[in-house]
Symmetry: C2
Subunit: 266 residues, 2 copies
Amino acid sequence: MNIAIVGAGNVAWHLAKALQKVGHTITTVYSRSKAHSEELTKLLTDAVATQSLDFSAIVADVVLIAIPDAALPGITQQIKVKPETIVAHTSGSQPLAVLETIAGANYGVFYPLQTFSKLATIDLEQVPFLIEGNTEATINRLEQLAQTISQKVERVDSDKRKQLHLAAVFACNFTNHLLGISQELLHNAALPTDLLQPLIQETIKKAGMHNPYSVQTGPAVRNDQNVIDEHLRLLQQQPHLQAIYQLLTQSIQATKDNNYSSDQSA
Amino acid sequence: MNIAIVGAGNVAWHLAKALQKVGHTITTVYSRSKAHSEELTKLLTDAVATQSLDFSAIVADVVLIAIPDAALPGITQQIKVKPETIVAHTSGSQPLAVLETIAGANYGVFYPLQTFSKLATIDLEQVPFLIEGNTEATINRLEQLAQTISQKVERVDSDKRKQLHLAAVFACNFTNHLLGISQELLHNAALPTDLLQPLIQETIKKAGMHNPYSVQTGPAVRNDQNVIDEHLRLLQQQPHLQAIYQLLTQSIQATKDNNYSSDQSA
């Protein structure tokens, strides 16, 4: 397919390279900053950089929008395409409907469920692509496109995608923050900050193979009040960490007797 | 060395097998339940099962205590050893001093910083062993023993080990709970519970290579109040999850402007 990309950041970069690699042609890369889009086009065979969002004279089966969520409503209002072009955004948190203002176009969602940075190589084949569209034909077209670069393509509507995004905040954003707190505690105790890495790896591996609730360990699930009290004492200079410790300890203890389902092993 | 092991659970099982593999002799395995200790001794070449904690007539350079933390004080009061035997516990949360009541013995800590289950094979070579002892000679002896099965042997005193355990509660116990919440949310939305696995893997990998605070993503760090409000609305039937969401969101936002150090990349 011929593909135009709006955006020249991490997502645009990974998608453009992967799509070109399997034989698609990236015709155009839009960025507000010309230098920014040219950084990407010089890595691609046939792409030209543009600062216009009028794609009505450009060869493109699909326009992929890969820009920050906050910029999406403003950008979509300016996009012009031929009627046969599909416009799809790549955001996990934005509904399909954010694109319905684009006059005459078919539109959809083409969401790679992964975190991207330019430095890290990502195996897109293993990345779930969540697809949605305003018509069955649009969904089919975007599914076909996703299947050329990933083995894990799923139809997920906006409501479910929102639930998924919420789950990702707990599993990734909040988890990352706890790992940050942990490193801060190691740092403050003059311990090597990588000391817990093998334990973290094993914890995540185990949580991926079972229902994490069923493999919970630690003082909270053991009701080991002596250790809990001692930990709270160690945190007495950091009341915000005490609050997190107490709330998560309570939540673990409440979950123990309230396991939503026992058939959660993957 | 000749080693006796008190306990026949997961830690005892992994340590006994690894120590025998590199040439040590496990002479004795204690468990309150004879069936339990025999399950382990039948996997070992020279070990006999015992239900007595009197090791004063038994050949053992080291007695390793690998039992639940709560049972440790009660068990240590009953242990009898020859004066030349070192008694060491394997607990992350118990101080060295819990062993000082053992008459006449040298004593120490031999703590493998990992989570063990009988089903999962663990590469002990990569597992940090944290060593402590009542004398320099005891520490040296336990270090030598640990170095035969691990490449990562560190001296860590009881105070620092306590800090480390606290950091591990955040990095592992609490993280596991958040992964459980995430799977519950996916389950409730009828989404595949393994959908987030690639994203989780990448998040953990990234957090292990940088200061996690510096690679934080998501609505909290972006101050994306629309998304935060929408997530809180989705959780309105689960006030305990709303509370966790709010507290961790606040903590992420407070951390952004209060980065304890910028030189934390590992």
